[in-house]
Structure formats: structure tokens, C-alpha cells
């Protein structure tokens, strides 16, 4: 009996002795980040590639934007990532800066018999009325008026939306609030809202599964999901009155035409942006870092990585159906680094 006890005690001691070792290893130049799930596949791809080139390790935990914001505020990570930008005041109080890293677009998709991808045309007000529960059938006069050539069935519309809090919903509801004052008043825009109608699917995969299963449904998903599942996307009328299809080019047009110069802290919602080619529901995913860095070496490593992503990461981003930031925005971000990120008073990025 005593012997077994002794052995178990010894093994516990041994395990305890292992712990500090682990901690020491974590002290290597590893950059830690946490946050949004949407860009996770891309960030880990970039980190893998960058690690092969430079040996730097990036540990990114996709715990959700809310978690990422909390972690960076608690200073447990070197950078946070959020799908929705923080307001300038919130950034200032926390001593953080943010910059857009990568973009995606939100695409309305439908499952209506006889209608294939890109055939159906909708405008913002009609979509808002569908999501408000005011338009309930596919052969409603408002939809017919936008699609004179299409044979729309006399079928109920099954509204599908996200059930979980998400950056996708944040972008989509911001779009609805932008195009419909009634939506703005009754529902508002947030990562999750009190939806007037519809069923909620968990994640993009849940929404696309619901849309594919429910006849007569309409939902909204990330561009990559619409593409990979070959879903019937909708053409949307943009701010300039043009009908556009979702694509890398129309998302980039929205970002390039957006007025970043007058958006303090890059707080910009990429919905209803001007431009002939601009897709009206796009959004950027943001990185949050401290203005005042404590470890110059680490700060440099981190910015080097982001810099490499901007200059060499576009190809991988496109391969994974993300949309790289346009050149003019990247230039602004680099200027922001130069101007704002400091370590003991000295700029970190030159």
C-alpha cells in the first residue's frame, strides 16, 4: 500500500516538475492571437507558410470575436481579432488600435425551384421586407417588379438566418438597417438580433444546410460557403443603382471605394458603399493591437508577419475564397503602424 502511494506521489511530483518546462518553452518568440472564427483558416495558413520561411510561430485561437476582444483587453494575447470593428472611443479607452486584415462578403442565397444562381434580382428594401416578415410569398408584387422575366412560384418564403452571434450577422443587419429605416427602428444591427421571423441555423454551415433543405427559403452566408456549396446566389442592387453579382472583384470595389480616410480607427462598415461595381454587403475582419508595446522585439515580429501577409498572402487568401484588402487600404494601414505603434516612446515600425 505504502509503495503504491509513494509511486503515485512521485509521479505527481514528476508531472508538476514538467509544468515549468512547458512554460519556459512557451517563452520562445511565439506570437499569440485570439479572436474571430471567420478568418481562422486563412490566418493558420499564413502562419504555417510564414513559419516555414522565418521559423516564427503563431498561435491563433479562434474563440470568437467577443473572446478575442476580452483576451486582448486582459493582455493574455499579443493581438486580438474581431469581425466587427471597435468604435474609436472604445479603442482609445483600452489603448488599442485596429486595422482591417482581410475581407469577406455576405451573399443572400435562395432555394426556389427553377431559379439558378444569379437569376434572381433583389434590392435592399425588398430583402429587408422579407426579413421583417412583410413579404411572405415569392410571387409578391415587389419581387415580381424587380424580376419581370422570371417565373416566380406561388410559394411561401422560408426565412433563414444565423442563430449564433456572428460577424456575418453584424454585417448583414447593418446592411438591412442601412437600406430600411423600419429595420433600423424595429430590429437594429448587432451580432445577434431579435429576428422578427425565420429559423436560425448555427454557423454558415447551419444556414446553408437549412437553405438547401427548406423549399422556398432565403438565407445569407459568407461568400466562401455560397461558392463551395454551389448555392443560388442573388444579384443585388447597389448604392449606384447597378445590379452586381458577388465576386472577389465586387467586394474589393466596395473596399476600395469606401471612405477610409474619414473613418477614425478604421471603423467602417463596408455596406452600401458607393461605386458602380461595389457589392453592397461586404465586411473586413480586424486585428487589434496595443499602441504601447512592451516588448519591442515581439512587436516587430508581429508587424513583420502582418506585413508579409499583406504583401505575400493575397494568393493564399484568394485560394481560400477570402478577399485581400485593396492596395490603397494596405498603404494606410502601414502608415498607421508607423505613426501609432510605439515601444517606450520609439516607433516600432519604420
Amino acid at each position: 500500500m505504502t509503495k503504491t502511494l509513494l509511486i503515485s506521489l512521485l509521479s505527481v511530483l514528476f508531472l508538476l516538475a514538467m509544468l515549468p518546462l512547458e512554460a519556459v518553452q512557451a517563452g520562445d518568440p511565439t506570437i499569440n492571437g485570439a479572436g474571430a472564427t471567420f478568418p481562422y483558416p486563412l490566418y493558420s495558413q499564413w502562419a504555417y507558410k510564414y513559419n516555414q520561411i522565418t521559423g516564427m510561430k503563431l498561435n491563433y485561437q479562434s474563440i470568437g470575436s467577443g473572446g478575442g476582444i476580452q483576451q486582448i483587453k486582459a493582455k493574455t494575447v499579443d493581438f486580438g481579432a474581431s469581425d466587427a470593428p471597435l468604435k474609436a472611443e472604445e479603442l482609445a479607452t483600452a489603448g488599442l488600435i485596429q486595422f482591417p486584415m482581410i475581407m469577406g462578403g455576405v451573399v443572400p442565397v435562395v432555394n426556389v425551384k427553377g431559379i439558378t444562381g444569379g437569376q434572381l434580382k433583389l434590392d435592399g428594401e425588398t430583402i429587408a421586407n422579407i426579413y421583417l416578415g412583410k413579404i411572405t410569398r415569392w410571387d409578391d408584387a415587389a419581387i415580381k417588379a424587380l424580376n419581370p422575366g422570371l417565373n416566380l412560384p406561388n410559394q411561401a418564403i422560408a426565412v433563414v438566418r444565423r442563430s449564433d452571434g456572428s460577424g456575418t450577422t453584424w454585417i448583414f443587419t447593418n446592411y438591412l438597417a442601412g437600406v430600411s429605416s423600419e429595420w433600423k427602428e424595429k430590429v437594429g444591427a448587432d451580432k445577434s438580433v431579435a429576428w422578427p421571423v425565420g429559423n436560425g441555423g448555427k454557423g454558415n454551415e447551419g444556414v446553408s444546410a437549412y437553405v438547401q433543405q427548406l423549399p422556398g427559403s432565403i438565407g445569407y452566408v459568407e461568400y466562401a460557403y455560397a461558392l463551395q456549396n454551389k448555392m443560388s446566389y442573388v444579384q443585388l442592387k447597389n448604392k449606384d443603382g447597378n445590379y452586381v453579382s458577388p465576386s472577389k472583384e465586387t467586394f474589393m470595389a466596395a473596399a476600395a471605394n469606401a471612405d477610409w480616410n474619414n473613418a477614425p480607427g478604421y471603423y467602417l462598415v463596408l455596406v452600401n458603399q458607393p461605386g458602380k461595381e461595389s457589392w453592397p454587403i461586404a465586411g473586413a475582419s480586424f486585428i487589434l493591437v496595443y499602441k504601447e508595446q512592451t516588448d519591442e522585439n515581439k512587436a516587430k515580429l508581429m508587424l513583420n508577419f502582418f506585413d508579409w501577409c499583406f504583401s505575400h498572402g493575397a494568393e493564399q487568401a484568394i485560394a481560400l475564397d477570402y478577399v485581400p484588402m485593396p492596395e490603397n487600404v494596405i498603404k494606410m494601414v502601414r502608415d498607421t503602424w508607423k505613426k501609432d505603434i510605439r515601444c517606450q516612446g520609439k516607433p516600432v515600425w519604420k
Binding site: 500500500m1 467577443g66 449564433d164 452571434g165 445577434s192 429576428w195 448555427k202
Partner: protein, 313 residues
């Protein structure tokens, strides 16, 4: 816990026993400590919401992150209804399966079914969820719900469009998930009934059913109730599978075809992206509510068992 035998042992091993007893006590103490810790943390982190909504949290149907108005009623309702459906299906089915395995099936078949049940219990809940969404929900919407709607549509329970997802589907998936627990635990307790008692019952000419009713079930009552509550606990707290198929709508609808939500599914859906303090706090309070519901059920089960034991003795 004094055991007389200890005194006969040599001094060395007596000390060892004492040490072992203390160690075991320390290990056992982690359970109440964990429980107290969880309650403490839940209350601490939900104090914002407790202060703002008070008792009204339990009676309010509101759930609006934009206006920051939160209530638990629709989630509590969904948890209760989905669990009830699951228990109504799984309890009788599970007991009958166990009876079949112990009393009626040939030993080989019984062994085969037994391992199949254990295999089912080991399937992760996300698999049930995916299967429920991609396979079972279309089946429900194409066959089961139209059939129920056709013959039972005078009941408000079975009205509305057959979407395939919703409260009924969630309840049935839950039933599949708790069935292995009920049947495997019940099978084990049925097997513990002393054969000699059963044989004497058969000896005086009792039928299979009479033996089951008067001997097996009577002997196993405690175990059966235990199995039921194990299953209930799992059904109340089940998260992923329910989230996939319940439709995730903060509403209370009479129809079982309509979508709803449960406490666990709300937490799974909204926890990651909730960054407002009051929102987060309301979610933690939902967790507290679930904890209390489970606790009340467990306590009631213990009390009930205790009263039965007294009656039987």
C-alpha cells in the same frame, strides 16, 4: 468509516490505511468544492443581470441583444418541452429493450445488442446533431410531419408547415441520445435481480409478465429511477445536437413543428460573440437557471426514492 479489521493489522499498514483514507477524502472533497465553486462563479458572473432583471428574468419572453432586454422564459420552455418529448419516447422504449435483453433474448443476441447499445452511448453528440440536420430533418419533413399533420392536425401541437427542424425533431434526437443510457443502466440492474427469487416465482407458476412486474421491476425500482434521472440530466443539458435541429428561435409556439430554443442551445449559440457585459451576464444567469433546474430534479428524485424505500421497508 471505522472498520474493525484494521485493528488486527500491523502498525505499518495501519498508518498506510490512515494516509490512504485521508488521500481518498481529499479526492472526494473535490466534488462539493467543484459544486460550490460553480454556483459561486455562476452567481458572481450573473450579478449584473440579476440586479437588472430580478425575478422577472424567469417570466420574461424577451431576448433582444440590441435593446439589451433579456428573459429566460422561452429558453426554459424549450428545454422543458424537448426534454419531455425525449423522456416520453425513451423511457418506455429503454425499459422494454432492457427487459428484452435480460429476460427474453438468447444470450448471444443479448451480448450483441448490449455492445451495440454501449457503442451508441459513445457517439459524440455533434454526430447526432449533424445526422439530425442532414438526414433526420429531411426525413421528418418529408414523411413524419406530413403524416402527423394529416391525421392529428386538430391538435395545435401538430400544426404549421413541416420544416423538418423544430421542437419535435429536437425531442426525438434527444430520445435517441438518452436511449442507450436508459437501456444499458436498466439492463445492468435487471441482471442483478437474484435468479433464485425469479426462479421461485416461475416455480409457483407465474408468467413471464408476472415475474417481470412483481419481481424484476420491484427489485430494480431504484436502479430504474436512477437510469431515468441520468438520462434526464443528459437531456436537460444536451447542447450541440439540439442546437443543430431545434431551429434556434426565441419564441414560445404551441406547435411542436415550430422552431424554438433551449437553455443549452442559446448558450452554445450566443456565448462566443456576446461582448456586452449585460448580455454575457444574462447568458451566465441562463446557465445558473439550468443548474438550479437540474439540482431541483435531482433532489426531488432523491426524496422520492427515500420515501419509497421507507414504504417498502
Amino acid at each position: 468509516m471505522e472498520i474493525g479489521l484494521q485493528k488486527a493489522n500491523s502498525k505499518g499498514s495501519y498508518r498506510g490505511d490512515r494516509l490512504f483514507r485521508r488521500l481518498a477524502l481529499c479526492c472526494a472533497l473535490t466534488i462539493p468544492l467543484l459544486m460550490i465553486g460553480i454556483v459561486f462563479e455562476l452567481v458572481r458572473n450573473s450579478r449584473l443581470s440579476l440586479a437588472q432583471f430580478g425575478f422577472g428574468f424567469l417570466t420574461s419572453k424577451a431576448w433582444n441583444p440590441v435593446t439589451q432586454d433579456f428573459g429566460a422564459l422561452s429558453s426554459m420552455y424549450g428545454t422543458a418541452v424537448s426534454t419531455l418529448i425525449a423522456m416520453l419516447i425513451a423511457l418506455p422504449l429503454g425499459f422494454v429493450i432492457a427487459l428484452f435483453l435480460v429476460e427474453l433474448a438468447p444470450p448471444r443476441l443479448s451480448a450483441f445488442f448490449g455492445s451495440a447499445i454501449e457503442l451508441l452511448a459513445a457517439i459524440p453528440s455533434i454526430i447526432y446533431g449533424m445526422w439530425g440536420l442532414f438526414v433526420f430533418a429531411p426525413f421528418m419533413s418529408n414523411f413524419v410531419q406530413p403524416l402527423l399533420g394529416k391525421y392529428l392536425d386538430f391538435l395545435p401541437l401538430f400544426q404549421g408547415p413541416p420544416l423538418g427542424i423544430g421542437m419535435l425533431t429536437a425531442g426525438i434526437i434527444l430520445a435517441f441520445m438518452i436511449l442507450p443510457y436508459i437501456s444499458s443502466v436498466t439492463r445492468d440492474v435487471f441482471q442483478m435481480v437474484p435468479p433464485v427469487v425469479k426462479e421461485s416465482a416461475y416455480g409457483i407458476g407465474a408468467t413471464n409478465w408476472e415475474v417481470t412486474k412483481a419481481v424484476t421491476m420491484r427489485y430494480s425500482l431504484r436502479g430504474m429511477v436512477g437510469a431515468a434521472f441520468l438520462a434526464l440530466g443528459r437531456a436537460l443539458g444536451e447542447t450541440m445536437a439540439v442546437t443543430f435541429v431545434i431551429g434556434n428561435n426565441h419564441q414560445i409556439a404551441a406547435s411542436l413543428f415550430a422552431s424554438g430554443n433551449s437553455i443549452a442551445s442559446t448558450l452554445a449559440n450566443e456565448f462566443t460573440e456576446a461582448s456586452d457585459p449585460i448580455y454575457l451576464s444574462a447568458l451566465v444567469e441562463l446557465g445558473l437557471v439550468l443548474f438550479l433546474i437540474t439540482f431541483v430534479f435531482q433532489a426531488a428524485a432523491q426524496l422520492w426514492l427515500w420515501s419509497i424505500k421507507k414504504k417498502l421497508a
